[in-house]
């Protein structure tokens, strides 16, 4: 092999960079980590089915926002027949009282940074 030193150094550098995900988590000690979510409510179910909420709560929130802001409707009929007031702070955070232990944990994990809280209020956590 010609220029052995340089070629091997190049390959090593390339793979150290490429395989960051393999060693990074081992270094930070978070390999295989997943956060624990605390809904923060005694209710049994969310506005919609849990699987739907996990995947599509952004869609639901968009729908709510548009219904309220553009159409002036404030009542939402969920698919299980219950009605909810369409309010981010009031309804969502009314059940999920502790944002840090619920929304934030999940969002930090997947590195989502909602900017909604620039305007919308987060209710104070009531210590039980």
């Amino acid at each position: 092999m010609f220029d052995k030193g340089k070629v091997i150094a190049g390959i090593v550098i390339f793979f150290v960079i490429l395989l960051i995900p393999f060693w990074y988590n081992a270094v930070t000690g978070k390999a295989g980590y997943a956060p624990e979510l605390k809904p923060g409510t005694d209710a049994k179910e969310c506005v919609e089915k849990t699987s739907f909420m996990k995947e599509k709560h952004t869609e639901l929130l968009t729908k709510w926002k548009e219904a309220v802001v553009r159409n002036g409707e404030r009542e939402y009929r969920a698919s299980n027949g219950k009605t909810y007031v369409m309010s981010l702070t009031g309804t969502c955070m009314g059940c999920h009282t502790n944002k840090e232990q619920f929304c934030d944990r999940c969002h930090n994990y997947t590195n989502v940074k909602p900017y909604c809280w620039d305007c919308h209020n987060v209710p104070k956590v009531v210590k039980k």
Binding site: F15, A31, A34, T58, E59, T110, V112
Partner: protein, 331 residues
């Protein structure tokens, strides 16, 4: 024809992912075995190809330069375009790898009016290539959010810049649009430019379509067929710590995306995409233009058996004299 074949191939790959994971539910195969296998093939194949290239000798000193060579002190030489030092080569290489310098120099000759040959710069290919590769880099870096924990601030920053428009919810990424546009351009160039079409092979279309397929499934997954990203990250942290858990309840589109990426990884070392490593090994770029200072010895050189004139004359002197031919040594 090649286009048709590569289209069929892509459709087959997508269908395999769809049927295998979505209908038959072979999650272990598609989410664990295929990615590990593909990564293994990638690593071994990549090293193999590089070593193979590094073992091939460069018989001639062939840097192709476009600047004044270093010679006498009072002649100004161009240290990047015609480097004679190692740092010069590094800067030239950096320009090539990061900004595609040689593609920027792309010229085109064409007949406009009868008998009039016009030369002009043709930078569209350069622009398309730049947009594509840089978008790809940003997209790859953004994906780190699913692979590492905690996510470093620079990745969050990149994500924030890329999602600058904050619309819709979740915001579209600028690079997503750019990469699709660039791929479309590169693809249409192959389709509609007759010269380029003539030299396009199956592997050219296939690589474009495969990467395009990955981009499109990724965008669909972000905006239309949403999946549970928390489960996705949990799955990746598992597989990355060699503790794979078969993921639960992630939409089929995720498996198709993952399977396309696995195919790309496994295909990579055998394809033209190896220009990722190959660009660093191109002798026309990575040699110094120092042929007036250092003698380049052909590594292939072996001692050639020669027969000099002196030896020839020694051998045939008697016969030469006899027929009256002039000889150099008379004894």
């Amino acid at each position: 024809m090649y286009l048709l074949y590569s289209l069929i191939l892509i459709v087959i790959i997508i269908l395999v992912g769809y049927i295998g994971a979505g209908i038959l539910g072979w999650y272990t195969l598609f989410s664990i075995i295929a990615p590990y296998f593909a990564l293994g093939v990638f690593i071994v194949g990549f090293i193999y190809r590089i070593v193979l290239w590094a073992r091939s000798p460069v018989p001639f000193h062939i840097p192709t330069v476009c600047g004044q060579q270093h010679s006498l002190p009072w002649i100004r030489s161009d240290t990047t375009e015609s480097p004679h030092t190692a740092w010069g080569v590094v800067s030239r290489m950096a320009l090539e790898v990061l900004l595609f310098r040689s593609l920027f120099r792309n010229d085109r000759a064409e007949f406009r009016q009868p008998q009039r040959l016009l030369y002009g710069g043709n930078r569209w290919l350069w622009l398309g290539a730049m947009v594509f590769h840089w978008s790809l880099l940003v997209i790859l870096l953004r994906h780190l959010r699913f692979f590492v924990e905690p996510v470093p601030g620079c990745i969050t920053f990149l994500q924030y810049i890329d999602g600058f428009f904050q619309w819709p919810l979740p915001s579209f990424y600028v690079t997503d649009i750019l990469i699709v546009a660039a791929l479309l351009y590169l693809f249409c160039r192959r389709l509609f430019n007759p010269q380029v079409r003539h030299i396009s092979l199956l592997s050219d279309y296939f690589a474009l379509l495969l990467i395009g397929g990955i981009a499109v499934t990724g965008i669909l997954m972000r905006h239309f067929y949403k999946v549970d990203l928390m489960e996705v990250k949990r799955f990746f942290l598992g597989i990355l710590s060699f503790n794979p858990v078969v993921p639960e309840g992630i939409g089929t589109i995720f498996y198709i995306h993952l399977f396309l990426v696995s195919v790309l990884l496994a295909y990579f070392p055998f394809s033209k995409l190896m220009h990722l490593g190959g660009v660093f090994l191109s002798p026309t770029r990575n040699l110094m233009n120092n042929s007036r200072m250092v003698r380049h010895v052909n590594p292939w050189d072996y001692p050639v058996k020669v027969h000099t004139y002196e030896e020839y004359e020694d051998e045939f002197r008697a016969a030469m004299k006899e027929v009256g031919l002039p000889v150099e040594k008379n004894e």
